[in-house]
Amino acid sequence: MIVEVAEHGAVLIVSVTGPRLDAAAAVGFKDSVRAVVRETRAVRVVLDLERVQFLDSSGLGAVIGLKQELAPERRLELAALGPAVRKVFRLTCMERIFAIHADAAAALSVAEDGPTHAC
């Protein structure tokens, strides 16, 4: 799993490049994100899922696991959820535990403590 990384001060944008965040990709995805987060001082890590077209419960579990691992020093947020990905977060009510931004640019434009999405 390849992730692209861009650091903007206190915000680290991590973009998932593959179209599927599924059971076959979940472990590699977690390892990749852990590796890049270890090297950053950013306090907000924004996972840009714009290119992800399919996410299953394994992918969801990986995202939740990363959020838990990063806390409390860092916060994991999400950006650019397509309809199929959004559906999984909605049906499992996991929308409410993440700050969700329309896209990476929107994530960068908000204040450091800002918005959280209500499920």
Partner: protein, 160 residues
């Protein structure tokens, strides 16, 4: 009702009686990459007939969850495990029958799809299956698991 085993004598898994032939049948080895390839095959074969993108997503997601459960739980990573997937599109959904020769479901039945406790990283697969599929039935017969369900592609999807 006529009862016959459509797979008898074929390369797949016998043991799940059925009176109607499937329109699409796939036999996969139980691995995450085979599941991914199998889903691609299903969507290539049926995707154009499932209507809106929303319906296609439901089919792909439910099948992914069911197949991943078999890889993870029934076969538990065993390299020679098989999964036999049979699908038949109907007016407002896809009838599915999935057989495997792995271990029986834990506690002898289908999870009720209740939400896992707060903080859980797993346990969401059956939440999704229950939200998007109906008529779920599970049988253990002749050492095989047989799971049947209908993936809903029409408006009857349960709202959460």
């Amino acid at each position: 009702m006529r009862v016959e085993d459509v797979s008898r004598g074929a390369a797949g898994l016998a043991g799940c009686a059925d009176g109607a032939a499937p329109e699409l049948r796939l036999i996969l080895v139980a691995s995450p990459l085979a599941v991914r390839a199998g889903l691609a095959g299903v969507m290539a074969a049926l995707g154009g007939r499932l209507g809106e993108a929303d319906a296609r997503q439901n089919v792909e997601l439910v099948l992914a969850e069911v197949l991943n459960n078999i890889v993870l739980h029934a076969h538990g990573g065993r390299a020679d495990g098989l999964v036999d997937l049979r699908l038949r599109p109907v007016a407002d959904g896809v009838l599915c029958r999935v057989l495997d020769d792995g271990a029986p479901m834990a506690r002898g039945g289908v999870p009720d799809g209740s939400f896992p406790p707060a903080g859980a990283r797993g346990g969401f697969g059956w939440v999704l299956i229950r939200a998007l599929a109906s008529g779920i039935s599970y049988r253990r017969r002749e050492g095989r698991n047989c799971l049947e369900f209908r993936i809903v592609t029409g408006r009857a999807v349960r709202a959460i």
